[in-house]
Amino acid sequence: MLKGILITLFATVVILIFAKSLYDEGEQNIKLEELKQKYSLRKTPSVDHSRLSELKKNFRTPQDVTEACNSCHTERHKEIMSSSHWNWERVSYVEGRGIRYSGKRNVINNYCIGASSNELACASCHIGFGMTNDEFDFKNARNVDCMVCHDNSEEYIKASALAGYPDRTVNLTKVAQSVGLPNKSNCGACHFYSGGGNNVKHGDLEEALFDCNRDVDVHMASNGMDMVCTDCHTADKHQMLGKLYSVSSENINRSSCEQCHTNTPHQDRIINLHNAKVTCQACHIPIYAKVNATKMEWYWSEAGDLKNSEPYFIEDSMGNHSYLSIKGRFVWKKNVKPDYIWFNGTADHYIIGDTIKTEPLILNPLYGSYEDKDSKLYPVKIHIGDQIYDTKYKMLIQPKLFSVEKGDSGFWGDFNWKLACEAGMRIVGLPFSGEYGFVKTEMYWPVNHMVSPKEQAVTCNECHTRNNGRLVNVTGFYLPSRDKNNFVDILGILAIVFSILGVIAHGGIRTYLAIKNKRININF
C-alpha cells in the first residue's frame, strides 16, 4: 500500500518536472509580437509643409529657411541651442575631475584627432551655418540648420569644407517644403561617415544600413521592421536619447534595448538572468562591420611620406585606403568579433592639455568591473593607433590638419608636422615645445547596432568553453566551463585514478589467489 502511494507520487513529480520544461519551450513570445505590431504602424504627418505660404518663396540663404521655420515653430531653436548636437559639448560629472564641459570642442579622438583649428572642414557635420573657426556664435538662432535633420527630400547636403553651409546646388525651397521627421539618411549623413569615410569610426553604423537585410540589422532591415534611428533614439524637446562614449561621460539619458524589450525578453529564465551582468548587445551582435570594413588601426606616425613631393595612397584587398600620405597607415577589418569589457556607463576622456600618464594612452577609459553592480559586459570595438605628442610637455598635440591653401600650416597641404603643431596648439591656447614624438593610443567604441537575427546570436558555448572563448580576456570572475580550480581538479582525477588502481590491484590479487588455490578452474 505505502509502496504503491510512494511510486505513484514519485511518478507524478517526474511527469510534472518534464511537463514544466516542455511548456517553457512551447510558449509564444507575446512581448516580441506586441513590439512588432507597435512599430509596424507608420506615423503620418499632420502638416503638409509644401502647402504653407510661408515656404512658397525663393530662399536666398539657408538662414532665411531657418527664419521661416522659426516663424511658426517659435521656440524650437531654443531647444536645439541647448543640445549637444549644437553645442558640441555637454556639462557632466567625471570622477576625479568634478563638473566640467566636454565634447567635440575639447576632447581628442583616435581618428582625425580633433575639430579645433579644423572647423571649416569638420563643421560639415555641425547642425549650424558658418562655423569657420573657434569663434562661432553659439547664440545666433539664425545659424541653426533645421534642414540637415528634417529634410525628407534627400536633396539637402552640406558642402565638404564650407563651415557647415549647404552645397551650392541645393534647392532650398524644395527642401524647406519637404521637411518632416528625421529618417535614416538625415542621421546617417553624419553618423555613418564620421572619421572621414563610411564606417571609419563606429564599425556598426554605416551606409549599408540605408538598405540592408535582416542578417545585417534586424531592426533597420528593408525586408524586416525597417525602423529608423529615431524609433529608438527618441527625442523630447530636441534632446536625443542615447549618447556616444567617444564624447559622453555620464550614465544618464542613454538609449537601451531594454527600453522596448524589457530586461526579461527571453522565455528562458536562465538567459533572462544573464541580463544582470551581460548586455543584450554582447550576445545579439556577434560581429560588426558586416558589410563594409571599419578602421581598426590608424598610425599617424607614418603620415607625411611623399612620392615625387606628392601625396599618394595605397589600397588594401577590400579597396580601402591602407595608406594615405595625409593621414598615415590604417588597418581595416570586416566581420569583426567584438572585444568585451565591464562597463557601467561612466567614462573619462582625454581633454586637450591633459598630461599623458600611461602608454598606450587610452583616450576614453570606460569604467566598470565585475564587482560593480552597475557594470555589465559590453561588446566594444577597440581602435588602436598612435598620435603626435609633445615629448617635453607630455601632452597630445592638436595639429592644424586642414587649410584651404598650401602654406597655411595645415598638415594636409604642407606635410610639416612642426608647423601644423605650432598652428594647432596656438589656436587651442596651449604651449608647444617644438619637440614631438608619437605615443600609442587606444579608443573604446561600444558596439550597439547591427543586431543579428536571434538564430545568429552568440551561443552559450562561445563563452562557456575551456579555451579561446569570447570572454578569454575578461577575467576576475568564475565562468562555468571556462574556469576550474586546478588543485581540486587534480585531486579529483587522482582520487579516480587511485580508485581504479586500487580496484584493479585488489581484484587482481583475489583472482590470482583464487586460480592458484584452484578455487577457480580455468580451462585453456
Binding site: 510512494l6 518536472i17 568553453t465 580550480n485 579529483g492 589467489l513
Partner: protein, 207 residues
C-alpha cells in the same frame, strides 16, 4: 541456504534510479565543467537541472521511506566488527575466509558498509545537493530585481560541487567493484536487481 527478500521493491527502484540519475548528472555536470562535449553546453545545463530536481525529489521520497519503514536504523554505525570487516577486505578475502558479519534482513549492511553509506548520505549527497542548489540559485539579481544569492562566491560553490562530483565517481568505482565480493561475484548485483539473495539460515541459538 534459503532465498530471502533482502531489498524491497521501493528500495530497488530508489537504488537504480538514483544510480542512473547520478551517472547522468556526472556526464552532464562534467560537460558544464568543461571536461566533456556531448550535448553542448546549453542542453547539458538544461538536462543537468532537470536531473537535479528529479534526484532531489527521489531523495525526499527515500528519506520518507527510510523514516516510515524504520530502515534508517540499518545505517547506525557500529564499531564492534569494523576492524574485523576491514581485516577481511585487506586479508581474509584473499584467503577465501568467510565474511566476519552475517547478512540478514534486519542487518543487511556490514559495519564498514553502514559507515560508508552513512557518510555517503550525510556528507557527500548533502555536499553536492546543497552546493548544487546554491549554484543553481546563484545570481546577482532575479526577475524582480531582488538580490538572491551572491554573497557566497560562485567559485567556492562551483569548486566544492566539483569536488563532490569527483568523490562520487571514486565512490562509484569502488562501490561497483565491491559488489563482486559477495558469496559469488554476481550475487550482490542479482540481489539488488531481483530483491532476493541466498543467505545462510540463521541458527536458532544465535540469539
Amino acid at each position: 541456504m534459503k532465498k530471502v527478500l533482502i531489498y524491497k521493491r521501493f528500495e530497488r527502484f530508489w537504488h537504480w534510479s538514483q544510480a542512473t540519475l547520478i551517472i547522468f548528472l556526472g556526464i552532464t555536470g562534467f560537460e558544464v565543467h568543461g571536461s566533456l562535449e556531448i550535448f553542448g553546453f546549453e542542453k547539458a545545463v538544461l538536462y543537468h537541472r532537470i536531473a537535479a530536481y528529479l534526484l532531489i525529489a527521489l531523495i525526499m521520497f527515500a528519506i520518507f521511506w527510510h523514516i516510515t519503514t524504520g530502515e534508517w536504523r540499518q545505517y547506525i554505525p557500529s564499531f564492534k566488527n569494523l576492524r574485523a570487516q576491514i581485516q577481511y577486505y585487506t586479508k581474509g578475502i584473499f584467503k577465501n575466509e568467510p565474511h566476519p558479519t552475517k547478512k540478514t534482513t534486519l542487518s543487511k549492511l556490514n559495519p564498514l558498509q553502514a559507515l560508508t553509506y552513512l557518510m555517503f548520505k550525510v556528507v557527500l549527497i548533502p555536499l553536492v545537493v546543497i552546493t548544487g542548489l546554491l549554484y543553481m540559485y546563484h545570481r546577482t539579481i532575479d526577475d524582480n530585481n531582488v538580490v538572491v544569492v551572491s554573497d557566497i562566491d560562485l567559485e567556492l560553490i562551483a569548486v566544492l560541487h566539483t569536488l563532490g562530483a569527483f568523490l562520487l565517481i571514486a565512490f562509484l568505482i569502488v562501490h561497483v567493484y565491491m559488489t563482486t565480493t559477495g558469496t559469488t561475484p554476481t550475487s550482490n548485483i542479482k540481489a539488488m536487481l531481483t530483491g532476493y539473495e541466498e543467505l545462510e539460515e540463521e541458527e536458532k541459538n544465535d540469539e
